[in-house]
Amino acid sequence: MVAELSLVEAVRLAHDRAMAEDQTVLVLGEDVGVNGGVFRATDGLLERFGPERVFDTPLSESLLTGLALGLGAQGFRPIVEFQFMGFIYPAIDQVVNHVGRLRHRTQGRLTCPIVIRAPFGGGIHAPEHHSESTEAMFAHIPGIRVVIPSSPARAYGLLLASIRDPDPVVFLEPKRIYRGPKEDVTDDGKVLPLDRCFVVRGGNDLTLVSWGAMMKETLAAADTLADQGVSAEVIDVATLKPLDVDTVIASVNRTGRCVIVHEAALTAGFGAEIAARLADRALVELIAPVRRVTGYDTVMPLLKLESYYMPSEARILDAAREVLEYA
């Protein structure tokens, strides 16, 4: 069954599919039941699967994570929704101290097959605290996966894979592209591979690396470059952790030039990790320095100045030109 879906609709579809196939899959979160989630990601699930599969929880992110861990240790597969990444931070204690550790500290006796989902990122003219992009914090934690879809089809396939994975996944959904663009999504229950980057577009002159909503601007920049006779390869990282750096390296080995684009702030952003690995493994092939086009090391401004913070197609093109003309 194929339908043209938005990213959040694809997320909802993946929930539906997973819950129908596996009775141990549960959904927990604030407003996920009766209200179907503030972004409608869990719309209709309560009606379909009932109050012993879908739970409207009290307001406490730390509790939610620990609750999910306890359920996971007992053999359930809970999917926990956090309403916004900006409110996820009380959960970091549970994620660092317990979720990422449970399997390791019990030597496999107890495990934590949970998915933590949250909408993240800016660009929707939201009030304060609702535009966070701190995926690098999670990428630093051992024992978990960090997965970020950039399209409806990838959201479906990657979320299904995350739910079925026996280890904890932090699944961050770029809310700026929640409702569009839409894409054909086949409800076939097929997963997309985790731990793998996707080469979304082939090219020989330059490697553009990004994830999440910034894929939109990155692909637009690639289009503009193509008009100028430059063929840019575009890579969607998708799983930040564990990072499939081999795909990026194979690309840079051919192009010799790399620009990384992320919305998150520059310092210690995940682009730094990729750049460091390229310096480690692709130094002989690099013709120009690895450039990062990112948000700034400032508090994300409110809507008036938001567009100056977010990396734009123009900034990506500037960086591309820099590395192309470097040597």
Partner: protein, 363 residues
């Protein structure tokens, strides 16, 4: 609920009861519950407390001689942990802290496993016995939410099992604990929260921890009953725990049991409690300690003789020695094993790191 009528009135009040069955001198001061009529059961409780204390002392000695890492002794609190561990059913799940050794040992965690854990080997948390019990929780109170998850699993599966969340007085100040209790109350989860109030959170005395008169009444704020019990009276602890467990098992929701006891040791083997508390206070509390109290009762009731004591001490001493030897003989795991059990299958980038560690320290 808006009360009817125009006048102001009391709309809620609460009561907290305190239970003690064995007086300080070992004499009965309340009706003996059924289980305690059984001599074997009582002797079993006594034996487990003696074993817990002997093991504890040995662990401290090992730390002092550099053969164990930092260790948290449970001296003086044996009745709380043995009592709660004994009252639990094997199919219940325990989530406890680093001071419930007695409960863990009672439930089938071995002394070797506990020593391995504190000795710095993760295999110590891979309990061969109670497979679903949680490893001890170090960040205080963060296991409260875990207990609600376990309890919810039981409820969803319609299983007559209970999650027991054991914590200290300090933990009751933690947000996670309030959040967990709140959820347990509103969702009527089968969980028993046990607060071992030993009056000290490292150097912070109980009076500085909260303005509440009792810790048991924190349950009122979460909408379920709280009870206080003399934590050094193992019979009372067992009795109150049993009722709370049965209540949860029957689907009637959570309970909080506050067990009053005293931490007769330092917080850990590296803490020095003389820095913040008076030796005289500790001496006074030795008079209330749980093991001699039950012993007096057993002797007075004719259940326990000098020969029994002699034999028990020797047996227990030997058991502890055997465990220590087994612990000390545990082979060092290969360094690369730190990558085992990180994920179900080690992802490729980590496989490289594993190889690197193998190169430095051997596979």
């Amino acid at each position: 609920m808006v009360p009817g009528g125009n006048e102001s009135k009391i709309v809620a009040s609460f009561e907290i009861d305190f239970t003690r069955l064995l007086d300080i001198d070992g004499s009965l001061c309340g009706p003996l519950p059924d289980f305690a009529q059984d001599q074997t059961t009582l002797i079993g409780l006594y034996r487990d407390m003696v074993l817990t204390r002997a093991f504890d002392a040995k662990a401290v000695a090992l730390q002092r001689t550099g053969r164990l890492g930092t260790y948290a002794p449970s001296l003086g609190q044996e009745a709380v942990s043995v009592g709660l561990g004994a009252a639990m059913a094997p199919e219940d799940v325990l989530l406890c802290t680093y001071r419930e050794q007695g409960a863990q040992l009672r439930r089938g965690v071995t002394m070797v496993e506990i020593l391995r854990y504190w000795g710095g080997d993760e295999s110590g948390s891979d309990y061969a016995g109670p497979r679903e019990d949680f490893p001890i929780c170090v960040p205080v109170g963060t296991h409260g939410p875990h207990a609600t998850g376990v309890a919810l699993a039981f409820k969803l599966r319609r299983e007559p099992r209970v999650a027991v969340c054991a914590m200290g007085d300090g933990a009751t100040s933690k947000g996670d604990v309030y959040e967990a209790m709140n959820l347990a109350g509103v969702w009527q989860l089968p969980v028993v929260f046990v607060v071992a109030n030993n009056e000290w959170a490292i150097s912070v005395p109980r009076a500085r921890q909260t303005a509440c008169e009792t810790l048991a009444q924190k349950a009122i704020g979460a909408g379920f009953p709280g009870h206080q019990v003399d934590g050094n009276d193992v019979i009372a602890v067992y009795h109150v725990m049993w009722d709370a467990l049965e209540r949860a098992r029957a689907g009637n929701g959570p309970t909080l049991v506050e067990a009053l006891t005293y931490r007769l040791s330092d917080h850990t083997t590296v803490d020095d409690a003389t820095r913040y508390r008076d030796d005289a206070e500790v001496s006074a509390r030795w008079k209330l300690e749980p093991i001699s109290r039950l012993r007096r009762y057993l002797i007075a009731a004719g259940f326990w003789t000098k020969e029994d004591e002699d034999r028990l001490l020797s047996e227990v001493g030997r058991e502890v020695e055997v465990a220590v030897e087994a612990y000390l003989a545990t082979p060092l795991r290969p360094p690369a094993s730190m990558f085992d059990h990180l994920y179900a299958d080690l992802p490729a980038p980590l496989a490289e790191q594993r190889t690197e560690v193998e190169g430095y320290g051997g596979g």
